[in-house]
Amino acid sequence: MINIEKLEYHYPHTSKPALNSVDLHVNKGEFILVTGKSGCGKSTLACTLNGIIPHISGGDMEGKVVVNGKNTKNFTVFQMAQEVGFIFQNPESQFFNLQVEDEVAFGPENLGLDPEEIDKRVSKALHDVKMTFWRKHNVFNLSEGQKQRVNIAANLSLNPELLVLDEPTSNLDLPGAMELFQTLERLKNNGKTIVLIDHRTQHVKKLVDRVIIMDEGKIIHKGGKKLLHDPEAMKKYSIRNPTHLTTMVKKFNAYNTSNISHNTSKVILEVNNLSYQYSNGFALEDVSFTLKKGEILGIVGNNGSGKTTLAKVLAGLLKPGKGTIIFFPEDQGGNKISMAHKLGMVLQNPDHQLFMNKVHTELSFGLSELGFSLEEIESRVEDILSSMNLSKLRNRHPHSLSSGEKQRTLISAFMTRQPHLLILDEPTTGMDSYHMNQLVGEIMKLQGDGVSFILISHDIEFLLKTTHKLIFMENGKIIDEKLTEECYNFTANLKVHNHFKV
């Protein structure tokens, strides 16, 4: 099905190869998992399969990629479309139409087929992903998992033999991811060849035939599915593997609780009966909790459970309809402290939040608005640059950094304001285990300095490693609150999954 020989590829204007002497042979009907650290070249490899590389991305490509008998050098992307279906991370940004059936019909329409044939293909594709019921619905009203299935159907309608999925689960909550893998299982049974690019491995163990591990543009390991059950190999190649958390979590928890075990820390935030209502009817209802100095709180819930809304209300981006948010309830006049000094919040996508053309000016952006003198700004920025390990990058353009570095820059930008609380919204989206552990380290270090955190995430592994306390949300309400230690036992019993509605 796929035959790759001596593939080498350079992105435009770069000297380091993104792919280096890659050889790969995939048989029809196989399910291949390609994994590895961020930036290892796995997405680049995926892009060569339908000719996005070199036809759209440009750059220099050496070697040969043949898919279903077609050499990608001689066929453009739209000519390859009937051989390869390509599913991306974020389906919503790639929908061209509003209605599910129109979206699925987009491919066959491009081929110029007649309406009856298109209709037949749309019905079949929707049936294959079990979305027939939603045929006439608006794509924007679907859940993330359903959107991703529509996306798959939109590719299936072109009848490709090969499906390539590039990190399809990174925006999905647990139920969404489960639905997706059930769909993939059906497609595998129907005889499709599937190449999955992902660094999360917990769901695919059952389906996968072969595992390919990449690093620095090379394939460094090929193996069977046994590899995914080998904790040593997983650690060596920094692959995410939440079922082997036992030792790690215990270690981290011991470290965490020692810091706040005395319960003498001051309460820095008290939230009482908070409510908020959107115009579309979705509401946050009666949310109450407290947060202590140096405490790390995790907020867990499926997509649309109200986690991000809660964070936005806390950060002052939305005005609460009812209830109170009190900072430093034990101090009189605590609310006089400026908002920026109270808390910082890092939103999900760094692209929205980086404004300046150098890392060091990014850190000082807006500080003058808070009434600091120039010398003060200078010294703070220098402190943070060195403590957050950014000195080397100080003159780089923030948008040219890798996503992990961007996030570090952002956290640093808030640290210059010396906030008491940092809120991070889905900080580990698309992160491999190496970068996640780095982030965990950064959080722990700041927590040691007395900063409290609210972490919004559906990444269980990340939350278990960092938090002291977890709040579970559903439909805008807090449905449960637990110490992380208790939850760890839950995971062992798989009971924690109840909170994710599997």
């Binding site: 435009p12 204007h13 759209i56 440009g58 053309n357 353009h397 923030p398 948008h399 040219s400």
Partner: protein, 195 residues
């Protein structure tokens, strides 16, 4: 680009040298222009009876965006495409002001023609400044003239007023083009626009 060829018996215009990437990018640029135009219209035009106010208010900001679009795509014809799409959107959909359709198309066409003659392609700072200036001039002149045809008070719009407004819009448009070329340079350093 405007070469007409007979293909399967139908007459159609060829946009062969525009890649899907270019077309998608232009689409996004127009979407952004539209948002800014709406904000300006609700903010500026609603509080003044002088219809030229909108032209002046938007000239600068719209030109910044167009200039970045031109700097990325570089092909002559880009401005016309922007004009056509913007014209259809603003003329037929929102604010559904039909005269914007011919004005936007002719404005884009004029800018493309001038660029074709003097620069060959978009890219240099001067080409962006001139193109944005020309576009604003033609568009403003047309819009205001059409308003007169519609029976708008000639005490508020008279030929001298139209001329002054057009000159102002041209200067602001050119200034927007200048800022736009600066932004394009920075985007290049961020690695977001290739050379």
């Amino acid at each position: 680009m405007f070469k007409k060829t007979s293909n399967t018996g139908k007459w159609m215009v060829h946009f062969g040298n525009f890649t899907t990437r270019d077309l998608a990018f232009i689409g996004m640029i127009v979407a952004l222009m539209f948002i800014i135009e709406m904000v300006i219209m609700l903010g500026v035009a609603a509080i003044t009876p002088f219809p030229g106010a909108k032209s002046i208010g938007q000239a600068f900001f719209i030109s910044i965006i167009i200039a970045v679009g031109l700097a990325k795509v570089t092909k002559v014809g880009t401005f016309t495409i922007i004009g056509i799409i913007m014209g259809v959107v603003a003329g037929l959909i929102m604010p559904a002001f039909l005269p914007l359709l011919p004005a936007a198309i002719l404005g884009g066409l004029a800018a493309d023609t001038v660029t074709k003659i003097f620069y060959g392609r978009y890219g240099s700072r001067n080409s962006l400044v001139v193109a944005c200036g020309v576009n604003q001039m033609v568009e403003t002149l047309l819009i205001l003239t059409i308003m007169v045809v519609f029976g708008f008070s000639t005490e508020i719009i008279n030929p001298i007023m139209i001329l002054i407004t057009a000159i102002l819009a041209t200067v602001l448009g050119a200034a927007g083009g200048l800022i736009g070329s600066k932004i394009a340079t920075e985007l290049q350093s961020a690695g977001a626009i290739g050379n």
